[in-house]
């Protein structure tokens, strides 16, 4: 038995209940392999450093668990089948004292802006985008600093 941690990114269009279901299914996979979940840390919705399957955001979750090596194989297999998982990574737990939700919200926002050279937090914007693409598009043409940032995000979203 070793301690591992697995991170997976879910598609941003999955709703709250869907996220819970996905987490539950990972937990089930671990427990079926006689593993033991020691912690679930939701990082929440955050911007991706590069688009994956044409989306720019994803819902990150990290699960720490203790198990034998067979579980990893099964986890990997199920992740690959599951289309709502954009990315996944399972590694030997670093034993770091800081669980992943150690990062405060604002720090995350600050960083989110820097690497891509565009700011803004996605939260509210995303739901708009999912709702009505046309309205968002017209919004993007407004000639204002803030609006321009929004337009950036939407361009990539399409």
């Amino acid at each position: 038995m070793r301690e591992y941690e697995t991170v997976f990114i879910l598609h941003p269009e999955i709703d709250e209940a869907g996220i819970e279901r996905q987490i539950e299914s990972v937990r089930k996979t671990i427990e079926e392999g006689q593993g033991e979940v020691t912690g679930v840390y939701k990082w929440g919705r955050r911007k991706l450093a590069y688009p994956i399957v044409k989306v720019n955001e994803g819902f990150y979750t990290l699960i720490r668990f203790r198990s034998g090596p067979e579980v990893l194989k099964e986890l990997d297999r199920r992740y690959k089948i599951n289309e709502s998982v954009l990315r996944h990574l399972t590694v030997h737990s670093s034993g770091e004292p800081n669980p992943p939700d150690y990062r405060p919200r604002e720090r995350r926002g600050e960083r989110r802006g820097r690497p891509m050279g565009r700011g803004g937090r996605g939260e509210g914007r995303f739901s708009e985008r999912a709702g009505d693409g046309v309205a968002d598009e017209s919004e993007g043409f407004v000639d204002d600093e803030d609006e321009e940032q929004e337009a950036d995000g939407e361009d990539l979203g399409r």
Binding site: I9, A49, Y50, L86, L89, E96, R111, P115, M116, G117
Partner: protein
């Protein structure tokens, strides 16, 4: 120029991570990793950063993991 190279030789690089007494470079530590890559997204080589072998290896591993999770870019957007 000889003068210039002389000053260069004199400047001894020290591993910043050793100075900070970092035990382990975590792939989730996006802030640190962003500093360990160039603006193009390449891992800064040891000859530039002056990191010790141990820490450089950890950085390399962490950067690669973080890239998979889209925490940091493979290639910076503007250079694509």
């Amino acid at each position: 120029m000889p003068k210039k190279s002389a000053t260069k030789v004199l400047r001894r690089k020290v591993c910043k991570l050793c100075l900070d007494r970092v035990e382990h470079v975590d792939y989730k530590d996006e802030k640190r990793l962003m500093r360990a890559i160039t603006d193009r997204g390449k891992i800064v080589p040891r000859r530039i950063s002056g990191n010790c072998a141990r820490h450089q290896a950890q950085i390399t591993q962490a950067v690669k993991r973080a890239r998979v999770l889209a925490l940091i870019p493979f290639v910076n957007e503007s250079y694509k």
